[in-house]
């Protein structure tokens, strides 16, 4: 990546701290990643790993009520701007101009993400009218074009539908149309297919990829599903307890996870070719995600890790070490474990 083409989104040292009952709890620790235009980074992790909080922090949507303190740098480099803008430094009014226009977001629950009392056409047109000041008629025409673009059949009759009159997949297409109305440079997709049927899931993923190819937007795709990761992402960052623990190209990470946590996650994905003897159990990771208020000493994953060595893994938080080909891993024993074949808890039965 050269200086003339800075990443569309560059996150540096992002920390989120919640204030709960007078005491502070840091839930996101020093997240940093970059996404180039046209690239998709998948952010993967279990529930509670901090994926959604990260995305909300990027959009500056963590409400005042949650008393969240966000620090670090979120540099958004819009195609229309010469210099990157640090989203955490600008005032609310400027942020609102960028939100929905240069950086947009789609959500997990397409039913509740839409306002039940407004027609979907109006909800899409609202973005257009608000950001470009187009007159009503023109915004409506644009909403129609967007509905067509996201593959809604009979878009002109769907403009006047209410959200509850559409199927889940259709609703998610409407949410996508809303997010893409202003052709943003960065799209954050927070588990956009989790609530959908598998067949609809595939359609939505294909749609997102097509739209990305057409617009060249950078995409941050949040999911817990490695199947989805391999479908959409170029690179993947695995999160655990508010930290990125591994990052790399999708093929490389899926083929050979370096961090024991990633390996455990991959092993717990059910696979046809791995279906062994009847009654054989699916691999799981013992224990549970730690409470952010009381993280274990040293590596956060150490109490659940089969490779943990007392005195080494529980002494200090391991650094996120950079390896070849943009690969990064946060594991003290990575140098010992990398070449070892036993790293994969489920040996291939070839």
């Amino acid at each position: 990546m050269t200086l003339s083409h800075p990443p569309a989104l560059a996150v540096r040292d992002l920390c989120v701290t919640f204030q709960r009952n007078g005491c502070e709890t840091r839930v996101i620790h020093d997240i940093d990643f970059e996404i180039a235009a046209g690239e998709t980074l998948a952010l993967v992790g279990e529930s509670g790993s901090g994926k959604s909080v990260t995305s909300m922090a990027l959009m500056r949507l963590l409400g005042r009520q949650s008393r969240a303190a966000v620090t670090g740098q979120v540099a958004l480099h819009a195609a229309t701007e010469r210099e990157p803008i640090d989203l955490l430094q600008i005032d609310d009014a400027r942020m609102r101009q960028l939100r929905g226009r240069r950086i947009a977001m789609i959500f997990q629950e397409p039913l509740t993400a839409l306002n039940p009392v407004h027609r979907v056409g109006d909800q899409i047109a609202e973005v257009v009218r608000f950001h470009s000041g187009s007159p009503r008629r023109q915004a409506r025409a644009q909403a129609l074009a967007l509905l067509e673009q996201v593959g809604i059949p009979e878009p002109s009759s769907r403009l006047d539908s209410y959200p509850h009159e559409l199927s889940g997949g259709m609703r998610q297409r409407v949410v996508i149309a809303m997010a893409l109305a202003m052709e943003p440079d960065v799209l954050i997709a927070d588990e956009p297919t989790t609530a959908l049927d598998v067949t609809v899931q595939a359609q939505i993923l294909t749609l997102l990829k097509t739209l990305q190819r057409d617009t060249g937007m950078a995409m941050l795709f949040i999911t817990h599903d490695f199947g989805v990761v391999s479908e959409v992402a170029d690179r993947v960052a695995v999160m655990y307890a508010g930290r990125i623990v591994e990052e790399g190209d999708v093929e490389a990470v899926l083929a050979r996870p370096l961090m024991p946590y990633t390996a455990g996650l991959l092993a717990s994905v059910p696979r046809l070719e791995r279906a062994g003897l009847p009654g054989e159990r699916l691999a799981t990771i013992a224990g549970r995600v730690p409470d952010p208020a009381s993280l274990p000493a040293g590596c956060s994953f150490q109490p659940r890790c089969t490779f943990a060595v007392p005195g080494t893994c529980d002494s200090a938080v391991p650094a996120l070490a950079s390896l070849k080909a943009g690969r990064r891993v946060r594991c003290t024993r990575a140098h010992e474990l990398i070449p070892a074949e036993e790293l994969s808890p489920c040996p291939q039965t070839s």
């Binding site: 959009m59 949507l61 009520q65 609102r96 101009q97 960028l98 939100r99 929905g100 226009r101 947009a104 977001m105 959500f107 629950e109 509740t112 993400a113 839409l114 306002n115 039940p116 009392v117 407004h118 609202e126 973005v127 608000f130 950001h131 209410y162 509850h164 949410v175 809303m178 997010a179």
Partner: protein, 316 residues
């Protein structure tokens, strides 16, 4: 839609019939009755009383009296008052507009202020304003209306002498300003409680909407705070308020009972109390039927309005 209305109308007729039957029977089962006032009159013999009863039709079996009354009601004859012989409908309408003036004003004031306070309290949850509004509402709800009324009269009428202590108008002065001056104190007292009710409901309703995903979506679209609040939050938070308004409609008739008594306001509440005191059954029954009609109408209006404003609701 037409079918739905016909169904509702059918239900309403059944309800009205039951209300009238039960009301009529209970009223006549109560001890005393319209003839009891004559019993103590000196020189009134038993024969005299029976003659009066026959004249008024009160000597007939109760069920006959009921169907006689009902039959007249169906052709628009609400009967005549036992007290002064004037048509019931005429008396009711005379008092109705006084009540509508008072309750209408206080309702409008309370809804506007209550909804505003509710929204502000929800948006600035746990702020100083929110705590003050909450405590204020609790105080207003737990202190009885008559006490507020007496305090208001003592303070603004007796001590400060700013406003009249009661009644709807000064005799001989029919100006609008005079009406308004008489309206202020009872409106104030009635609104205290209603602002409290509306603000609590609106606050709860707004808080519920605030947490919804579509509010987050609206923010993610980059809309202004005002637009998110009005277009997305309040628009949804008002939906349950329509039902509340429908339920409150009948209290426009009966709710002012205490305030009307304290402020000697010549409205429906006082007419009802006085008529019961005089055993003026035709008037009592008339007010009862009118209240029942208001209840049904309020509910129907609320349901229709909800169906119009909430696209998810279908009338069936």
């Amino acid at each position: 839609m037409g079918r739905y209305l016909i169904g509702r109308l059918g239900q309403s007729i059944i309800v009205l019939f039951l209300v009238s039957l039960i009301g009529f029977m209970i009223l006549n089962l109560a001890p005393g009755g319209p003839l009891s006032q004559f019993a103590l009159t000196p020189g009134m013999s038993q024969a005299d009383i029976q003659r009066i009863a026959a004249q008024m039709g009160l000597d007939r079996p109760l069920i006959i009296q009921y169907f006689d009354w009902l039959g007249r009601l169906l052709v628009g004859d609400w009967g005549d008052s036992f007290r002064d012989g004037r048509p019931v409908l005429e008396i009711i309408i005379e008092h109705l507009w006084a009540t509508l003036l008072l309750m209408g004003t206080s309702m409008a004031v309370s809804i506007v202020i209550g909804i505003g306070v509710g929204i502000a309290g929800a948006v600035r949850r746990y702020s100083v304003f929110d705590y003050l509004a909450t405590v204020g509402a609790m105080v207003a709800l737990s202190i009885p209306t008559f006490w507020f009324g007496l305090v208001a009269i003592y303070l603004f009428a007796l001590q400060l002498d700013w406003l009249p202590a009661g009644s709807m108008t000064t005799i001989g002065d029919g100006s609008v300003v005079d009406y308004l001056r008489h309206l202020i104190l009872p409106t104030l007292v009635l609104s205290l409680v209603n602002v409290a009710i509306w603000s609590r409901y609106m606050r709860a309703s707004t808080l519920e909407v605030l947490d919804q995903d579509f509010v987050r979506t609206a923010r993610a679209k980059g809309l202004s705070r005002y637009r998110v609040l009005v277009h997305h939050i309040v628009r949804n938070a008002l939906l349950p308020m329509i039902t509340l308004a429908g339920l409150q409609l009948p209290t426009i008739l009966g709710g002012a009972l205490v305030a009307e008594t304290v402020f000697t306001w010549p409205g429906m509440g006082r007419l009802f109390l006085d008529s019961i005191g005089y055993s003026d059954y035709p008037v009592v029954m008339g007010i009862l039927m009118l209240s029942a009609i208001f209840v049904l109408l309020g509910n129907l209006l609320a349901d229709l309005l909800v169906a119009i404003t909430d696209p998810r609701v279908r009338l069936a």
